[in-house]
């Protein structure tokens, strides 16, 4: 079985501006913004990559 790609949200502050664009667009509602911390639910995320596009500053990568 192919393993899921990995999703990485750079939310240490180097790229992420904590704007919530990814949270609002996530079709599975599985990204969480807590002031300056962004997390997502690994199990629910299907790596659809919509958040990668929606991020205005390129802080989300998939590989």
């Amino acid at each position: 079985m192919p393993s899921k790609k990995s999703l990485h949200i750079e939310s240490s502050g180097q790229l992420c501006i904590y704007c919530g664009a990814c949270v609002g667009i996530c079709p599975l509602n599985c990204i969480y913004l807590d002031e300056t911390r962004i997390t997502f639910d690994e199990k629910v995320c299907t790596r659809c990559e919509i958040c990668v596009k929606a991020c205005p500053v390129g802080a989300i990568e998939i590989g």
């Binding site: 501006i17 904590y18 704007c19 919530g20 664009a21 949270v23 609002g24 667009i25 079709p27 509602n29 969480y32 913004l33 807590d34 002031e35 919509i50 990668v52 596009k53 929606a54 991020c55 205005p56 500053v57 390129g58 989300i60 990568e61």
Partner: protein, 396 residues
Amino acid sequence: MGSDLKTDVLVIGAGPAGSMTAKWAAKHGASVLMIEKRQEIGSPVRCGEGMSKDWLPDVGIKPGRWVNVEVEGARIFSPNETVFEINEKHAGNEVGYVVERDEFDKQLAIDAANAGVEVRLKTAATGILKDDGKVVGAKVKQFGTTFDVHAKVTVGADGFESQVGRWAGIPTNIALKDMDSCLQYRMTNVDCDVRFCDFYLGKVAPGGYVWIFPKAEGLANVGIGVQVSQIRSMAEPRDYLDRWIAHHPAYSKGKKIDMVGGGVSISPPLKQTVMDGFMVVGDAARMIDPLTGGGIANGCIAGKICGTVAAQAAQRGDSSKEALLEYDRGWRARLEEKLYRNWLAKEKLCSLSDETFDKVVDALKDVKLQKLNVHNILKAVRDKYPEVTKEFEAFL
């Protein structure tokens, strides 16, 4: 575990729509708790800071020190930078005042608090409480302590990134073509005109626009929205904005002092905004004008209705979906037709070529439009560029 709380109305999120809902619920006699996950209401700002002003008296907001600049109107720049000026009254809900948005949000929260609302900061909703399908409050976390808030009516006012609506069971998902990804710099040392909010259309910002909202002489918010469905690679909104600034000497020498990002829904109105014990309002309810991207006015107008209905429902002891539908009907009567019409217009505008934008703006600049409406705009276009009118037949 902290101790559980009881309230008539729980409002989740202390932005403009949340504060208006809370204020009007309290003014109508309800006990109201408004929670905000941030430590500071209104900050960090996620907004272009332009808003219209004719609606303010209606919902009880007085202009205060949150007003930076009062503009005369808007200037629309086509791709070849033909300009069309519109008086502020006809320029849509982003044009009138340029504001200090964090001050604005704080003022509305102060108004709510002074009306009797209890406000709790650093308090996030982490889930919805349900009893037999009906929303009866929320699970919240304050300073790391989790407890339940039991409410007769719960209101989701948690902004664009809303989660509580979906937790409750109202589908607020949006399509990629119904969202703009936005980025803005506040720039000093720029050559902006404080009389106008400027909008640049076309391929400089696919499915959106570049905006210049003046904060003071030499200081402006310079931002961009790009339709997510037209984004091809990572960080494109930033690339588009940087490219636009580099090509405009009035701004390329400017210095960035602030950076703001965010999502803006440009979707049709939601089919459902209430369920048993629960309502959703403002950006969370996708009430942003899909043509202008402005959300403050609509959120506040709907918030007043939402708060009023919430208080009545709590007092009558009936917060069923049927009772709360009065809010749904109320905001639709005020906003729905325009939201839908502007969504259709947005769909059309997103498909126009730069050449067509140039022709439309060129046709408009020649006429003194007494009243800016679709009919008058189309007539002006038809007189000068009959071939372009075909693109807009659906609107006739």
